[in-house]
Every structure is written in C-alpha cells, then in structure tokens.
C-alpha cells in the first residue's frame, strides 16, 4: 500500500513536470519526437522541408511572478542589445484564452534577411513563447502555417 502511494505521488509529480503547452503542427511541417528534444531549452520543434522553424518554450514564472509587460520588455531589450535584431512590429495577441504580445523581428543571419517572430504569453506560473523563424522568402511562403501554429496554442 505504501509503495502504491509512492508510485501515485511520483506519477503525479512527473506529470506536473511535463510541458503544459501544445500547438498543432501545421501542414507542410514535421514535429520532432520528444526524445530528440531532451536537454533542449524547448519542448516542441517543427520544421518545414526547407528549414523554416516553429518552436515552443516554457519558463517558470511561479516564483518570479513577472507580468506580460515585464517579460515583453525584458525579451525585447535582450534581443535588441544582444542580437542586434530590428523590432518590426509588436502587437497584442489573444489565443486560447491567453493574452500575449507578438514581437516581429527583422534580422540578418548569415548575410541574409530573416524574419523571427516571438509570440509571448504569460500566466501566473508560466512564460510561454511560440517562435517562428525563416528567411524572408520562407516567411512569406509559410505565413499562414506560422499563424495557425501560434493560434493553435493551448494550455493543458
């Protein structure tokens, strides 16, 4: 009986440790198996056949209790200063009951023009981001897929 209780507690703990956000993989994209993402700082990655990427990350906000405005400014400052990207647009976003900010960046990567968008959502316990990235050409080609992935974000 004691072992059973321990097992149940362990199961609940493990369950609580797993990622709680999911997105639907769009057509033309393939998501990587979870095992391939071990030790990666993200728990979801999908790629198009020519390398455009959708990425989902989660960070703990339970102890930090930062607001959406706080993390938006922190992330914006960090990317501007450290990466040198240009913020093209920042818009409010409502998805699945969550309110977030969509940060759209222009970036130079390997001498080519790239687009890099981060949809940032903040809850009491979590900071969730959905990143979409690709060359300017890929961005045009997959804009619908990128949008559908962001809009499909759900919290368990």
């Amino acid at each position: 009986m004691r072992n059973f209780i321990l097992l149940v507690c362990l199961g609940l703990w493990l369950g609580a440790c797993g990622p709680s956000s999911t997105v639907t993989t769009p057509d033309n994209f393939v998501s990587l198996p979870e095992d391939d993402l071990d030790w990666r700082p993200y728990h979801y990655k999908a790629v198009s056949p020519d390398g455009a990427v959708i990425l989902v990350r989660e960070h703990d906000n339970e102890e930090l209790s930062g607001s959406l405005a706080y993390w938006t400014e922190a992330l914006t400052r960090e990317i501007k200063a450290e990466k040198g990207y240009t913020l093209r647009e920042s818009t409010e976003l409502k998805v699945g009951g969550l309110t977030g900010n969509h940060l759209r960046w222009d970036a130079l990567y390997g001498g080519e023009n790239y687009r890099y968008d981060i949809a940032l959502f903040v809850t009491k316990d979590l900071i969730i981001t959905v990143e979409t990235a690709g060359s300017a050409e890929q961005y045009e080609r997959y804009s619908k897929e990128f949008d559908s992935a962001v809009k499909s974000l759900r919290l368990d």
């Binding site: 700082p41 990350r57 400052r77 450290e82 222009d106 990567y109 001498g111 890099y116």
Partner: protein
C-alpha cells in the same frame, strides 16, 4: 593625389591664385578663335576655362571665390552648338581652376543590407545623383561634386563605420593638354579640308582624305576623353560596401538580466 575628407577645402580660400602657369602655345597658327571652357560643378571655386583668342594663348590655374556660382554641369564649351565664347561667370579668360576627380570608398556595418542600400539610393537621388552600379551588398553612386561631402556624411550615418577612404585625383594637366591637342587637331583638320578642296590630282585627294580620316578619329578620341574627365569631375564616385553587423559590433548599453534563458532566444538557437 589628394587624400582627405573634404572635397573642396581650397575653396575656402577666397580667390586664391594657386598657380599661374603661362603656357606659350607653339604651333597654334590656326588663327581660330575656338574657346574651350569647363565649369566643374557648382562647388565654390570649381571653374575651368581655356581660351585662345589670338592664336597664341596663355593658360593659368586659379581658384575662384568661395560662393561664386558656377555652371551646374561640366561641359566642354565649343562642342555644343558651336559655342565659342567662354562662360560669362567665373574667372577671366585664360584661367583655369584645378580639375579634381573625387572618389570615396565607404564601408559600413549594417543589420539590413536591403534597407541600407535603399536609403543610400534615396539620399543620392535627393541630392541630384544617380546609381551607377549595385550588387546585393554594395552600390556605386555618382553624386554632383558639390554635394560629395554632404552625401558622404549622410551615408556615414546609415551604419557603423568600417572604413572610409577619400581620394582626389588632380587631372588639370591632362585636361589642359587634351584641350590643346584637340584645338590643334581641329585646326589641322580645317587645313586639310581646305587642301582637299584645292587638290587637283586624284592621288593627292586620296592622300589628304586618308590623313583627314586619321585626324578626325583622333579628334573624336580626344573629345571622348575630355567628356569622360568632365563627367567624372562633375559627378564624384562614392562606393558603399556593406558588411553584416553582428552582436560583436553592437553597442551594448543594457545590463543583462539574471535570467539566462533570455539569452537563448535568437535565430542561432532556433535554426540549429
């Protein structure tokens, strides 16, 4: 050769008589009154003229007063519509200013090549210039000589400086030499044409025509070179070369926050 940033520093010296070079022209017995003048841009002090009104001409090199207007475009007077009088403005006859061809090579670190190149072209066109050539990471611009420095300053602000080289090449001597040779050749052509009319033998006429053709070819060649120099003097060349700006060149003016995961964002991580 001049290596400096300002294209017309000497223009700040009012009516500076740089050099008085009297060149006695020998063999100019055409008796013609053709005048050749070149006004190099509207930059103060940039005026060039050559005249020969008495069969034996004197040439001198001067600089005009600062602020004195000069014709907007470099031209070789005497070639257009039979123009034979020197410009009404600028220095007196028998005087020339220095003819200097300015060019600049400007290297910048930028994030966005396309935006920077578009901005550079806009700046150039606003100042009356044009694009001579362009690639995905560089552009060769031609700007009016008078706007050379102003355009360079504006382009400089489009990114972080990588390198900047400004060169001025003095072609005054070549220009004068070509002008004299052109005048002599035209006089020779006129004499040959007169001789051709007087030729009685077919053999003589053919010989003269052959010589006339050679001289005419030389004249066109000289005019072409003069036109090139005039154009180069009127429109300076600025070559803008872009290099990608990476985080190493970014002026970091913020204090990193103690959340390491923030620094994991970016294309490097996402596209790996």
């Amino acid at each position: 050769m001049y290596h400096r940033f300002s294209p017309v520093p000497r223009a700040r010296t009012p009516l500076l008589l740089l050099t008085a070079v009297a060149v006695g022209l020998v063999g100019c017995a055409s008796g013609g009154s053709a005048d050749y003048a070149m006004a190099k841009s509207e930059a103060p002090g940039d005026y060039f003229s050559y005249s020969d009104e008495s069969g034996g001409a004197g040439l001198s090199v001067v600089e005009a007063e600062e602020g004195k207007p000069a014709p907007e475009k470099v031209q070789l007077l005497g070639e257009q519509g039979g123009e034979t009088t020197p410009s009404q403005e600028g220095p007196k006859n028998n005087e020339v200013t220095r003819v200097i061809l300015y060019s600049a090579d400007l290297g910048l670190f930028v994030f966005d090549f396309k935006k920077t190149l578009t901005a550079a072209v806009d700046i150039t066109k606003a100042e009356g210039g044009y694009v001579q050539a362009s690639t995905s990471s560089s552009v060769t611009l031609r700007v009016p000589a008078a706007k050379f420095e102003a355009v360079l300053e504006k382009l400089d602000k489009l990114g972080d400086a990588n390198f900047r080289n400004v060169v001025g090449t003095d072609v005054t001597e070549e220009y004068l030499d070509l002008s004299i040779r052109l005048r002599n050749m035209e006089a020779l052509r006129d004499r040959l044409a007169a001789l051709l009319l007087q030729a009685k033998e077919v053999k003589d006429a053919l010989e003269i025509e052959k010589e006339l053709a050679r001289v005419t070819g030389d004249i066109e060649s000289l005019k072409g070179r003069l036109r090139y120099l005039s154009d180069r003097a009127a429109f300076s060349v600025i070559t803008l070369r872009l290099e990608p700006k990476t985080s190493e060149q970014v002026q970091v003016d913020h204090i990193p926050l103690p959340f390491g995961w923030l620094r994991q964002y970016g294309l490097g991580e996402v596209l790996q």
